[in-house]
Every structure is written in structure tokens, then in C-alpha cells.
Symmetry: C2
Subunit: 360 residues, 2 copies
């Protein structure tokens, strides 16, 4: 069913996307400002369900590639993603029928809505991650074995580069990453190109709606003075892993990623929590024991206001709740864990012990 | 007039291309081996003159992008350039009619002959540099203001990346360089795409024939026991700048380039010569005074055998002649000097004082 997104829906979607971003996906604050401004100029984005797409329709995911720490310092020119999509259309000799959300986590949930307005295309409710992931091959399209070429990168000067043939999704990530760094640390990305029939099979359906539900619950909790951590975990089938404050952040830019580790101390004493991240939060330890690992979601929110906290915004003294939320079932098959399990992030010794339930 | 290149012509072309390479363009030794092997398998490359091309014919330059020091260690898979050309054809929806030589200097003079056999396309006698240059925007196509997009890079795994839109030739160089480094330091390059009418106007005509003439003269000098430095400079309107041996080489890989400085001592004492290089030899100093600068050609050859010596092969004790040869007139206009004069290589204080005459 086609519906539109009004300016009033931007804030709850942005909050929910921030929670699903598990620390990454880019600042939703700037993304929300940009989306509201675009709605004011160009009207309301059209959203459709995956099942509304014709089997032979052509669609492509769009978003920003780069590190969260760059996203808050380097503002987009504005047409990077649209240029990338137009480049793919020129390359393929065919117009796109719809845009997809590559990752629902963080600012990248909002980018397709902006690009859809720029190009006059509807956006499908759903995404390829059900969260955010740092590398572009970490999605349900890769897990399903779909090609990542052709794909396109656009920079803030109008340059567009098309990946015509790619022998692996890791190659896509490797070459796109060095280009993104050379493009100033952030670029507009359009990939993969998929047919409607493939979208229905591989997309994690309804995650844009989920993001909005999470965000509305947080806003309601703020008004009612209730606990945002509890209302979020009720919707996402998760649990509160920790409450405390950040006492140490070791964060670097490494090969285009925001990498590091944070340490959190509980209020009133007790076991500390340590969280490793690569753009997104990957593994949470309590007292040296693993309590949650990727692909399950580990998100920090402000203790009182429920505002999601990205890895670019971590700082000493922040009072937070750490939420653990089960991954969508599409990310937990054996094939999926090869692509998005702990070993895919270099933790070859860590076994994935799924939290009970599914995100949605 | 169409003619073919036989196996017997490969050696003189390779020697002449090495001389015109001014230290860069890649080892002609390996390139010549590869070309002879390809001729054995696929027959003789067809060569045409620029004036044989129809005005609306489509042509593209092909060659290898990378550093000479990599070219002698990383052998090509073999289809990098052909894949790049096929990628451009798919992107444009049109077949190519001919291949161009991007740079006549070094191994890149031979690459289009190999690629032409692989693709069944003729090669135009001429090139865009009249020598070798380290950066891809340093050619007569850039000087004439032609677009460098679309262009394509192919790696040794069959991956092809197409540069669809580029706002400047410097951007083309920047993005292609980081990709080439990520591709292992060497890649197959196809660019720029030009129409026949543009080829006739911008190409430096007849440089493949010039390379062969230089090489034949060197081979004849070897047989006759005469001085190869004298026969080369007679053909190229140049002069012998120095005779002596290499006493010091400072050479590094920097951002994908072979950069450095060499010092040469004359036989029997006297003023030393110092030569700076970035893939190619850029500036020659004698006793601290500049005696030749880019775009004029500065080439090292073996003192007795006339074998050209690339910057990847410099070593202590080599006995050499240093040749200075005037650049083709196309590289000496004011517009050209912006692109290939000393300042384009960072020598903003150095004025270009052309040697007398023109290369051809």
C-alpha cells in the first residue's frame, strides 16, 4: 500500500533508526534536518511495501558510505546519491522504479527518503540489514548471493564511479572503501541493483515502520516520564543489558572506519561493561564475560531521554542504558553468520549465542 | 595506410619505446616478451595512421597504470586492458573501432598492440604524450581539453571500474591512483574515449614509427660497434648530456609512484650530474645548474649497448649515457606547459628552457 511520510514522522523515524543503528549508520540528527528541509521543498516521500513492486521492477539501495565520525563533520553536497543512481541508469540504459533502504540503522534510514524525493521515486518499507553494519557486503542481498555489480559511488563534486564487474562482495567493499576515503571520507552509494521479485525474497520487510514505532514509543515515554529503555525493548523483544556511565572511550579512525572500545561503570558500583565497536557496537562484555554479540543489536541510549547515541558521539560521563536486541531471523542462518557473525569482524574465537526471540 | 607488426619488429619498437620512456612507462623487456608470445598465438597487430580513421569512428587509449617498480614484480593476468575496453563498450552501448597508444614511452607503447590482438582492433600510429609521463592527465587529450570520462580500470581478477563522471582530469588521476594501489599497484587503463576527428587533431602522429626507427638505429650501432648515444640523438634532434656511472640512487614508492633522485659521476673526474624522477626523469642538474627539464626528454641508456634504463632498474655502478631530447612541439605550448611543465611536478621555481628543435 502506498503512503507518504510527513514532516511530523521524521523525528520518530530518526530516533528509531538511531536505536536500530547500534552506534553506526551516521548521525540521525543531521539526516533528520536534511530530510525535513527536503520535504519542505519537494513534498512528501512516497513509501510502498515490497509486495507492491512488480516482479520485473528495477530497484536499487541508496545510502552514505563512510565513517560516523566523518558524517558529523563533512556535510553532503546533496546530490551524491542521486548522481550515483542516475549513473547506474545511464550504465544500464534503464530507469529505476523504486529505491531501497540499504540499512535501516542510523542516518542511512533517512537517505533514501531524501533521494526518493530528488528523483521522484517511491521507497520500499524494509531494508537489507535490519540494523546498521560497517561493511557494504554485510546485508541480506549478499547473504542471498546476489551480485553487487553494477554499483555506483558519487562524491560531493559530481563525480560518479561505476563498479561494472566485481568478482566478490569483499572486493566491492575494498575498492569502494579506498575511493570513499579519497572522496573525503564519505560518499553516496547506490547498490545493489535488484529486481522486484528479488526484493520480495531478500529484503527484511517493514523495518521503516518498525523504526517509526520505536521512535514514537520513545517520544511517548519522554512525555509520560516513563523509562525509554523498557518501552524500546518491549517493542524489539530485547532486554536492558546495563545502566551506567561511560568512563573511557578509545576511538580511532582506521582505514575509513571508526574503531574502538568503550568502558562503562554501573551506578553504585559492581561489574563494568566493555563494548567493542567498528562503526557499530559489536560485542558487549560484562565482567569479562560476553553478554551480547553481533549480529544481535547492542545500542546505547540516553538514560533519561532515550536518545540513541552513535559511536561518533561517545564521551566520558554520558549516562546511558545499553540495550540488547535480537537480530532479525534473516541474519541468523548459518549462511548469514558467515557474512555478519563475530568471525566476519575478526572475532574468530567468539561464538554467536543468539538472544531469545527475533527483532521483528 | 594499414600495415602489420611482425615479431621481428618487436625488439626495435621496444628499445625505441624505452628510450622515449625517459625512465618510465614500465619495463619494455617484459612487455616485449608478452607481445611476441601474443603475436605467436593471435597473429600480427594491425597498425593504421590517424588519418585512416573515419571522423565518427570511436577509439580509446589503453595501457597500464602503476609504478615501474611494480611492473617488474607483478605480472599482468593478461586481460586487464581488454576487460576495461569491454566495460567501456558495455557502458557506452557501442563498439570501439580502434585503439590508441596513451604513451609511447616504455612498456605502454606495446600494451595497445597486445590488447588490439585480443580484441581484434587496429592500433593508431601515434600517442598522447610523445614520451612517458607519470600522471594520466599529462597528455595531449587533456591539453586539448577533452573529457577523461568515461574511463575504465581493470584489475587482475576481472574486476572493472568505470569512471562515469569526472569534474577534472586531476580527479581522474586521484581516484584512479588509489584504486590502482588497491588493485596491487598496477591496473589496465582505458581512457580517454575519443572520436576519429579528435584523434587526428590531438594525437602526436607517427610516434610508433619513431620508436621503431630509434630501436633499429640502436641495433645497427651495436652491430657496427658505433656509439648508440650519437645515433639516437641524431634521430631525435637531441644531444648527449653526460657520460658516466651511477654512484647513488635514492628511490622510494610514494603514493603509487616510484620517486627519487640519482647521482652520476663522470669518467675521469669533473662535475657530477643529479637527476630527479617521478616514474620518469624530470630534471637533470650538472654542478647544481639545470641542464634539462620536463617536458623535454631525459633518458638513460647503457653506455655501450644503448639499452634504455628505467627508473626501476637504476643501480650503483651502471655505466650510462644521459640523453637530452627536445619534446614534441605539442607539449611546449603555454597551455601544454600548465599540464606537463616543471610546475606540474611541483617545481614551481623552475622555468622551462626548451632545448633546440622538436622531437619529430
Amino acid at each position: 500500500m502506498e503512503r507518504t511520510i510527513t514532516s511530523e514522522q521524521v523525528e520518530p523515524i530518526a530516533i528509531g533508526a538511531g536505536v536500530l543503528g547500534t552506534g553506526g549508520g551516521g548521525s540521525t540528527y543531521l539526516g533528520a534536518l536534511w530530510l525535513r528541509e527536503t520535504i519542505k521543498r519537494l513534498g512528501s516521500p512516497r513509501v510502498i511495501d515490497a509486495d507492491d513492486l512488480a516482479d520485473d521492477a528495477l530497484a536499487v539501495s541508496v545510502g552514505k558510505m563512510g565513517a560516523p565520525t566523518v558524517s558529523i563533520e563533512k556535510l553532503a553536497q546533496g546530490d551524491e546519491m542521486a548522481n550515483a543512481v542516475r549513473g547506474l541508469e545511464a550504465h544500464l540504459g534503464r530507469r529505476m522504479d523504486a529505491l531501497l533502504i540499504g540499512e535501516i540503522g542510523g542516518s542511512n534510514a533517512l537517505m533514501p527518503l531524501i533521494c526518493g524525493l530528488q528523483l521522484g521515486l517511491p521507497i520500499v518499507d524494509g531494508d537489507g540489514m535490519g540494523r546498521a553494519f560497517p561493511e557494504l557486503q554485510m546485508d541480506t542481498f549478499s547473504i542471498a548471493g546476489l551480485d553487487h555489480h553494477p554499483m555506483a559511488l558519487g562524491d560531493s563534486h559530481g563525480n560518479v564511479i561505476i563498479f561494472h564487474k566485481l568478482d566478490s562482495t569483499h572486493r566491492a567493499e575494498q575498492y569502494a572503501r579506498v575511493l570513499t576515503i579519497s572522496m573525503g571520507g564519505e560518499a553516496g552509494l547506490a547498490m545493489p541493483v535488484v529486481m522486484g521479485a528479488q526484493v520480495k525474497q531478500t529484503l527484511i520487510h517493514g523495518t521503516l515502520t518498525l523504526a517509526e514505532r520505536i521512535g514514537r514509543a520513545v517520544l511517548n515515554a519522554r512525555r509520560a516520564g516513563s523509562d525509554p529503555a523498557e518501552v524500546i525493548t518491549a517493542i524489539t523483544h530485547g532486554r536492558v543489558l546495563f545502566r551506567g556511565k561511560i568512563v573511557d572511550v578509545d576511538r580511532r579512525m582506521v582505514q575509513g572506519f571508526t574503531r574502538g572500545r568503550m568502558r562503562l561503570a554501573p551506578f553504585g558500583g559492581g561489574a563494568e561493561m566493555v563494548i567493542d565497536f567498528q562503526n557499530e557496537n559489536l560485542i558487549a562484555y560484562r565482567d569479562g564475560e560476553i553478554v551480547a554479540t553481533v549480529p544481535d543489536l547492542i545500542s546505547l541510549i540516553g538514560l533519561e531521554d532515550g536518545e540513541p547515541i552513535g559511536t561518533e558521539s561517545l564521551r566520558y560521563g554520558l549516562r546511558v542504558a545499553v540495550l540488547g536486541m535480537p537480530a532479525p531471523k534473516e541474519l541468523k542462518t548459518l549462511r548469514a553468520l558467515e557474512v555478519v557473525g563475530p568471525a566476519a569482524f575478526g572475532y574468530s574465537e567468539v561464538l554467536f549465542t543468539p538472544m531469545a526471540g527475533d527483532l521483528l
